[in-house]
């Protein structure tokens, strides 16, 4: 077989070996600009969370925010990259993460320190350039506490992440901050889904509704399964 078609065939083979679209880059290759969450309606809507940007997932209690963020981290860690969850309120549940498919060995969990220290830790992790996705879990923080953080802190954080290939995700109960190119996803009140009646009743999942986009938000629905 001549050399040129053989070379093309080999290159195609190397490319197709990456069965998932979002496999981490091969050495020397530039990574794709978006990190997908693994939730099809959300990914179809926003196509993924941009790298080098501060994105935000906000919503009320039990709207599905944590499930969305965990799904993104699970997908990324299963692809072999490092991820981090900064958790000042110590609310992260490793069993839920493992059930989502996250590889816990690749997940760095920082827990139980004040919000300001969390921003500083995010800056340190961004500076290392080792993490593909970092979640700042401020969902348990009261809005008043979040408003006490200086606005410049978010600007500095966005400037820090802009130099990296990391997708920085802020989890909050209401809108706090988003980078200029970051995705903003707002989860609205969700409906739980039950099955059966009587003693054998189970919580099957949560039917969540999200709105994404800054100027003309578009809506989509998805289900987070409990079992």
């Amino acid at each position: 077989m001549p050399a040129a078609p053989l070379k093309t065939a080999l290159e195609e083979l190397l490319k197709t070996r990456r069965l998932q679209l979002e496999q981490p880059p091969l050495r020397g290759e530039e990574p794709r600009p978006l990190v997908r969450s693994g939730i099809a309606p959300l990914d179809n809507l926003i196509r993924g969370f941009p790298r080098g940007q501060l994105s935000e997932i906000s919503g009320t209690a039990s709207s599905g925010r944590t499930g969305v963020a965990l799904s993104l981290l699970a997908r990324a860690s299963a692809a072999g990259v490092l991820v981090a969850w900064i958790d000042p309120a110590d609310r992260f549940d490793p069993a839920s993460a493992a059930a989502c498919g996250a590889v816990l060995e690749r997940l760095l969990w920082l827990r139980g320190r004040p919000l300001a220290d969390s921003l500083s830790a995010a800056g340190t992790l961004l500076g290392a350039g080792l993490f593909e996705a970092i979640v700042l879990d401020f969902a348990a923080a009261a809005p008043a506490e979040l408003r006490r953080l200086p606005g410049s802190a978010w600007i500095r954080l966005q400037r820090r992440v802009a130099c990296t290939r990391t997708a920085l995700l802020l989890l909050a109960s209401e809108h706090v901050a988003t980078g200029p190119g970051g995705a903003r996803v707002e989860l609205q009140a969700a409906r739980p889904r039950w099955s059966g009646n009587g003693p054998g009743r189970l919580l099957r999942g949560l039917d969540a509704t999200l709105a994404a986009g800054r100027h003309a938000p578009t809506r989509a629905s998805f289900t987070l399964h409990a079992l």
């Binding site: 944590t66 499930g67 990259v81 609310r91 690749r106 987070l224 409990a226």
Partner: protein
């Protein structure tokens, strides 16, 4: 010429014979504490004859209170065997190895058990009898091992001397002309001391797995810090950063008079990068990053979670974050999105009003209201051999919104909110 040393009795220390041998030549091969083989090449300028050299070695052994047999022979095998078998000093002239070994019993050669038994059955008792056998006949009966054993019995070497290397120590001390106070001047000194230490490590193909920093203080005390990152490193900048972060968290109380660094070497890791696997993070960079987050990672507050093999709720430990190189299986199923629990640690005490055995109203410090829907109870228990636990879980939806997991502790008969389902 080779020298063999053997101590038939117990030695005062494990390395006593090796030290004796090294006082004559650096090329020493140790077979444990005893025997020890020496390469005597080049000593002819100091000791004119083998007799003179042998007597010097014997006198040195006596001076160190060592009871040692000394043998000097043209071959390694002859020197070793004669040192084991013959007490005192034994000298063998070149070409006389076979004759010197001939009267010795077969056991002196330390043959494999099977061959020793076979030669015994043949009626052989001495090395001379083995030497006298025809080589072809030995090959026919024992294969290649036969002529090899015969060559050993004649005192012929089959391998060169492989010197036993002295263990290297990677330590350096810097005595200061005047005491220094504060971390900033110490930072410059660390850079000055770490650079040659790391170059020495790299030159030996090693990295430092751990580093001990000992500061001798002005009041005479010693301030010691141990650094052990997740991955070995020979980068002076990485070690300097780790050292300064550690000293910032636990600074010395008085001025510093001397600085000593001791590195624990480990063979360097060589990474074979693959075209088809994801790029791996630099362990040195990761170690440095984790050191910067020492306020989080100290006391087990930060790291990689690991689930424990237990049915007890919230059973996990947080381990040091040291991810292994990823091996990704492209055929593995994609993770599926799931409802997650946002746990309260500790679980939040609650007051629950029931109706017909079902939770009807919840009040738990900031969370409360009538229960709109519920699933449960799901009972679990365990730890009866240790700290027993028994609970009855419910998934509830409040009329005001919010999905929560609550449980009743059946041992204490009280309610808690385990977390929010989100």
């Amino acid at each position: 010429m080779y020298g063999g040393l053997h101590a038939p009795d117990a030695l005062p220390s494990e390395g006593a014979l090796v030290e004796l041998a090294r006082s004559f030549t650096p090329r020493v091969q140790a077979f444990g504490a005893t025997p020890v083989l020496m390469d005597l090449a080049g000593l002819g300028r100091v000791y004119k004859t083998s007799d003179e050299l042998g007597n010097a070695i014997a006198r040195a052994a006596v001076a160190r209170a060592l009871q040692a047999n000394v043998a000097i022979a043209p071959s390694r095998v002859a020197a070793l065997v004669l040192a084991r078998a013959c007490p005192g000093l034994t000298l063998v002239a070149p070409g006389q190895e076979a004759a010197a070994l001939a009267p010795l019993p077969l056991e002196c050669l330390e043959l494999p058990q099977a061959h020793a038994a076979l030669l015994l059955r043949w009626g052989l008792r001495t090395l001379g009898e083995l030497q006298a056998l025809p080589s072809h006949g030995l090959f026919d009966r024992l294969g290649a091992a036969g002529p090899r054993l015969q060559r050993l019995a004649c005192g012929e070497d089959e391998a060169p001397l492989v010197p036993t290397l002295t263990p290297e120590s990677f330590a350096t001390t810097l005595e200061l002309e005047w005491p220094i106070d504060g971390l900033e001047p110490l930072s410059f000194l660390l850079a000055r001391v770490l650079q040659p230490l790391c170059e020495n490590l790299t030159g030996r193909g090693c990295k430092a797995a751990a580093l001990e920093i000992e500061l001798r203080l002005e009041d005479g005390s010693r301030h010691v810090q141990h650094l052990k990152p997740a991955a070995p490193s020979a980068e002076p900048r990485t070690w300097r950063t780790l050292a300064l972060l550690q000293l910032e968290a636990d600074p010395p109380q008085t001025a510093i008079e001397a600085l000593t660094l001791r590195a624990t070497p480990t063979p360097a890791r060589f990474v074979q990068f693959s075209l088809l696997d994801p790029a791996q993070p630099s362990p040195e960079k990761l170690a440095e990053t984790l050191a910067r987050l020492i306020a989080w990672t100290r006391d087990g507050k930060g790291g990689a979670p690991r689930l424990l093999d237990s049915h007890r709720p919230d059973a996990f430990v947080v381990e040091t974050y040291a991810p292994e190189p990823a091996v990704v299986d492209p055929r593995a199923l994609a993770p599926s999105p799931r409802l997650a629990l946002r746990a309260f640690r500790p679980p939040r005490p609650a007051v629950v009003r029931t109706n017909g055995g079902f939770p009807a109203f919840l009040s738990a410090g900031g969370i409360g209201g009538p229960v709109a829907d519920r699933a449960g109870p799901w009972r679990s228990s365990g730890g009866w051999w240790d700290v027993a636990w028994s609970r009855e879980e419910w998934d509830i939806a409040l009329a005001s919104g919010g999905l929560y997991r609550i449980f009743r502790d059946r041992l204490r008969d009280c309610w808690f909110v385990e977390g929010e389902l989100d």
